[in-house]
């Protein structure tokens, strides 16, 4: 009932609903970039948000690169939670890390997700939920690691959305998490503190 009442009141308030649909404009030119420029801008923007960005040449190097990065950041972990089949087969024993699978659990120290795309304009990662990348991995663990293929780093969000539309045929996964830095809050005394409810630190590995 309320549905019809509300829609009828809206239609009464909008007697001429024939106004032309809005033509969306492209992203601002100053935010656009492509290719190597986009990768560089992504890195700069992410680093400005406190994200550590690491380049690696071969996916196989990922476990060691992660081990080195964690050690440089004085972080210790025995286990890493991940579900992406493309990552499971990597030599994790090289890094003294054991894999745990499934959705994140309350006391997880470390989780690794794969991003579907990354956006240079703001240094943001796009994570699509699914069995390979449960969205809890991005929020429950103390430290979040994300891999992103260099070829999927685009200039603007419009390009990233186009990529999503192609991949998911206009039916998005349950959650698309656009992540631009670690969890933070300014709610106490106006000063920014990292690690409010989600990860205290975010590391990105460009492969």
């Amino acid at each position: 009932m309320s549905r019809y009442a509300i829609l009828a009141r809206i239609r009464a308030a909008n007697p001429n609903p024939q106004s032309p649909p809005h033509e969306a404009k492209p992203a601002p030119a100053s935010l656009a970039s492509t290719g190597a420029d986009a990768v560089l801008r992504f890195r700069t923007a992410a680093e400005a948000k406190g994200v550590t960005v690491v380049d690696i040449d071969h996916p196989a190097e990922l476990p060691l690169a992660i081990a080195r990065t964690l050690s440089a950041a004085n972080l210790r972990a025995d286990a890493i939670r991940l579900n992406d089949p493309a990552l499971i087969g990597l030599p994790w024993s090289d890094a003294n890390l054991t894999i745990t699978r499934g959705a994140a659990e309350p006391h997880d120290m470390l989780a690794l997700s794969s991003a579907v795309s990354a956006v240079a304009e703001t240094g943001s990662l796009l994570l699509a939920s699914g069995p390979d990348n449960p969205s809890s991995l991005a929020f429950l663990p103390e430290t979040h690691l994300v891999t992103i293929a260099r070829s999927t780093i685009v200039g603007t969000f419009e390009e990233a959305f186009a990529l999503l539309r192609t991949r998911y045929d206009n039916s998005l996964p349950r959650a698309v998490n656009i992540i631009s830095g670690a969890s933070r809050t300014g709610d106490i005394g106006g000063r920014i503190v990292q690690g409010a409810h989600g990860p205290r630190q975010l590391f990105v590995f460009i492969t």
Binding site: P21, A24, P106, S180
Partner: protein
Amino acid sequence: MKPDTAHFRESAAAAIADPRLQSALAKLPGGLVAQRRAAVSALPEFEALRDEARAIRDATLANLATHLEAFEAKATAMGSRVHWATDADEARRTISEICSRANARLVIKGKSMVTEEIGLNAHLESSGLDIIESDLGEYIIQKRGESPSHIIAPAIHLTEADVDADFRAYHTHLDQNRELGTPERLVAEARAVLREKFLSADVGITGANFLISETGSSIIVTNEGNGDLTQILPRIHIVVATIDKVVPTLNEAMTLLRVLARSATGQDMTAYTTLATGPRRTDDLDGPTECHIVLVDNGRTEMLASDMREALRCIRCGACMNHCPVYNAIGGHAYGWVYPGPIGAVLTPALLGITETSHLPNASTFCGSCESVCPVKIPLVSLMRTWRERAHDQGPRTLTARILSKLWSAAATRPALYHLIACFAVAIGGALGRANGRFRALPLARGWLKHRDLPAPQGRTFQQLWKETERGVPR
């Protein structure tokens, strides 16, 4: 919350006299205001984006029914249940029924202004549910029994010393001699306490910054990640949003997001922007098993049909209050309801009626700072003026005000009479004020004279003197 807009003047005076509140408010200019300025100057197209954002909002409102129907169809196809509520009461009942059908005991919430507006927490508590706010600022004020004093920074009126004392008082299960004192330690404590709640909550309630017709998704933006834990961990996710939140496409939402974060906190993007589309899929390892979306009217269709329509463009960034000299002087609580600052001065009368709320649009210097920063260019001054006209039509508040206003307009519209009275009044004023050049006390203008002197007139009107010079009398 129960509105108390009629005692605005008294609440404002108390706010000004509160040194603790003043020290918290003093951080605004160097904080959110300076951060917005930096973000805006870093994006050369920002001005063009404001025009584009405004155009998107206007075009959406012009076709609102169609976009809502499209959203409903897509959201339903993606597995969400869409509910419609004409007013606060229906919205509260709808949400409470979802909770009771699920045998819920604990509800965790992400920050949402519409749930403040409809008084959701009190209602759910009265039906026996435990409600926990998870946004850190909201958590603090919930514990204090207060309402938010800012739409994006609800505890902006508090200092870290306040929060320290509050946490010691509320978290009685923790060691009373523990060290707190720094924002880092306070945040860590809240994180640990709230983590337990996230894990045991049955229902998660969030608002929505936008609803996307194209994909049937709701979008929330947060920095803490609390909104995401709220919509991932509990079995049931309820999105509560007013009908004006709908946006046709992802690309249009992106334009709005580009101006939203920059206007609100000076970020180009908040830490987390999440598109949530329905419940968990068959092969998903996490996510809620049910997703409900409650579309709330509660006065929006009336605004759409009225001359307050432009206020529906609002995307709740809070920039108008950050830049308002009145808000900066008194904070948010003095406004007496959930929406403070210039947008509150327009929205509150629209939602509660002008009779009890007429102080809000009147208590503005009309400096226009709010309009100059509004990301969707809402003409806040002219909308406040329209409310003043409504209030004026209902008659001035006091007899003295009524008489003075009548006398003034009678004189001002009769130039000869006006100049005669002016010469007379100015001669007296000039004679009395000549010795000091100003007045410290007078029978009129008591408000003015309470805090400042009134400069005295020079003794002759310009018109008088000009006529004399035209006749060749030296000045």
